[in-house]
Symmetry: C2
Subunit: 338 residues, 2 copies
């Protein structure tokens, strides 16, 4: 199991990311050229098959074992009136996940992904980032490691989601700190904030940036000061997946914001990630563009929980099915192969 024993160990892991396997990629590319279709006619499905081949290091990759993890956390900054919902909804929704009644339960059942839920100290909200760091060093390391520990042996494709009332505010602060831009470039209405709430959110992000900017000296410190437990856990899970060469379907704004400080430190981090869905939350399109990722889906979701990522699982499976199961021109005796 991957474990970050210190901020320095986390930074060292982030600095030495493994790359995709070139022979696997090339074998998959060569296979694509022999399948019974005009070259390139399956569009992004072909790219997905080659991407998966690179991370699995084989010509015909699989996505049978798909793991989904929802991390939940509570946020001191919720006291600033930055969400349309009260903080107790976080624990209520965790109960809903555990009972199988949330959107992510239905969507992971529909796509055959194994779902687990990791609730991170919901009775101890993080510090209010407008006044103090979100977490201590120990708390942030613990959250990163609980994320990394969630990755199961044998997982072939990982998706992570989140639940945390108020968490678009730390997410916006992470983006602004890691990637530049003003608070208002990164904030949106989250679950349905009104204009006054949006103004409070902008003020909260600005206050947090003013307080912590000088202290955000690296990815770990940025996550620790401006993030949250479920946010750090997602970052830990996505980094652990990379170290284990497990590709990741990125979900929405908050899941992507979680890795913004890591991408700032090492832009190669996005290489094992597919952007599943571009959320309706303002800022997500900008974030994906900064990452150099083109979303597979744009269906107007703005829910989190991993729902956007779950929707893209069948796209990946379809890409691999075509890659694996199609006949070659020679096998099918079809004219026109190269």
């Amino acid at each position: 199991m991957i474990r970050f024993t210190s901020p320095a160990a986390f930074a060292a892991a982030l600095a030495a990311l493994p790359a995709a396997d070139e022979p696997g990629r090339e074998a998959a590319l060569e296979r694509q050229s022999r399948l019974t279709k005009p070259a390139g006619a399956l569009g992004r499905l072909e790219d997905i098959a080659v991407f998966m081949a690179g991370w699995q290091g084989c010509e015909r990759p699989r996505a049978d074992a798909v793991q989904a993890v929802v991390f939940a956390g509570n946020h001191g900054v919720a006291a600033q009136g930055v969400s349309a919902y009260p903080p107790e909804v976080t624990v209520q929704m965790v109960a809903n996940f555990e009972a199988g009644g949330a959107a992510i339960n239905a969507l992971t059942r529909a796509c055959g992904a194994q779902l687990s839920v990791v609730a991170l100290d919901l009775d101890r909200p993080t510090g209010d980032i407008t006044r103090v760091p979100a977490m201590s060093v120990e708390e942030c390391l613990d959250a990163l490691n609980r994320g990394a520990a969630a990755l199961r042996d044998g997982t072939q494709l990982l998706l992570v989601g989140e639940m945390g009332i108020g968490n678009t505010t730390p997410a916006a602060a992470l983006c602004a700190q890691a990637l530049g831009g003003a608070a208002r470039d990164w904030i949106g209405r989250g679950t349905g904030l009104d204009d006054a709430g949006l103004a409070r959110k902008a003020a909260a992000v600005e206050a947090a940036l003013a307080l912590h900017r000088a202290g955000c000296t690296d990815a770990f410190e940025t996550l620790r000061r401006l993030g949250g437990r479920e946010i750090a856990a997602m970052a830990g899970a996505i980094l652990a997946a990379r170290l284990a060469r497990v590709p990741v379907l990125l979900d929405g704004f908050i899941a992507c914001a979680a890795i913004a400080p890591l991408v700032r430190a090492n832009p190669a981090l996005t290489q094992h990630c597919l952007a599943a869905h571009c959320s309706a939350e303002a800022g997500h399109a900008r974030l994906l563009s900064t990452f150099g990722l083109e979303p597979l889906l744009t269906l107007g979701l703005r829910l989190g929980e991993g729902t956007g990522a779950a929707l893209a699982v069948p796209i990946v499976r379809a890409a691999l099915a075509a890659h694996d199961e199609m006949a070659t021109f020679a096998e099918a005796a079809v004219a026109g192969g190269h």
Copy 2:
């Protein structure tokens, strides 16, 4: 079984299309407002659930029985050098479909749709539309009826695809005739045509339009003169689905072009259709925009066969799973419902 006994019967069916069921739609809308998510947070998934509820006339619609049909036909206009592949590839690809080795086989297996293949007189290509009408009245009625006959009892969602070397040329002619614009607004490179081929294709479409424009007095005559057997069969299947209140996932440029003359005659025809995927074939985005349909996916496919539609089946299923399986705010004791 739905059968069009004459061109007049076809026109009468097209003029009297059934509408979606309002009580079903409203029950689904009301249910959406009670599910444990912020209002609208599932974006287009919510619209899909309400759309399906309207056509199935019930609060909780299903898409368990998904039927895919690939129609294949040969085209006299292929002799004009309008395709990168020789005409014998049509029959070779039908054999590939029947052996299970084509992309649509892999994609329908991946999404659990039942696939059938209808080869329409492949040894008798249609007339070359640059010189004569594609079909006689009897041939066109037969193709429409073979399409209509393909719809099985119990199908809850239909998708139709096609195979026919050269068929982007009649498809472009149908669009230009039914919807206006020049030949070059509707032609593209199909399976990979070079510049000289593209020029021949533009010339073929222009010649066909000049010859047949005056005779294209209604949807039937337009299909008969400028279409093809697999194209008319798709139109017949999609119209038959409407008469049976079965919703349709529209595939790519050719499947959409098949109904362009029908939509010109009665724009309400698109009401039971979801646009699954916007193809990389030039003209498809324009066609969907003319239809007032927003595609669910844009993944760069340009293969036909129904592949774009098959990719959207899991999106529809996911929408219905969330709609059917999610807990309400009251059931889950989550704060914030309305």
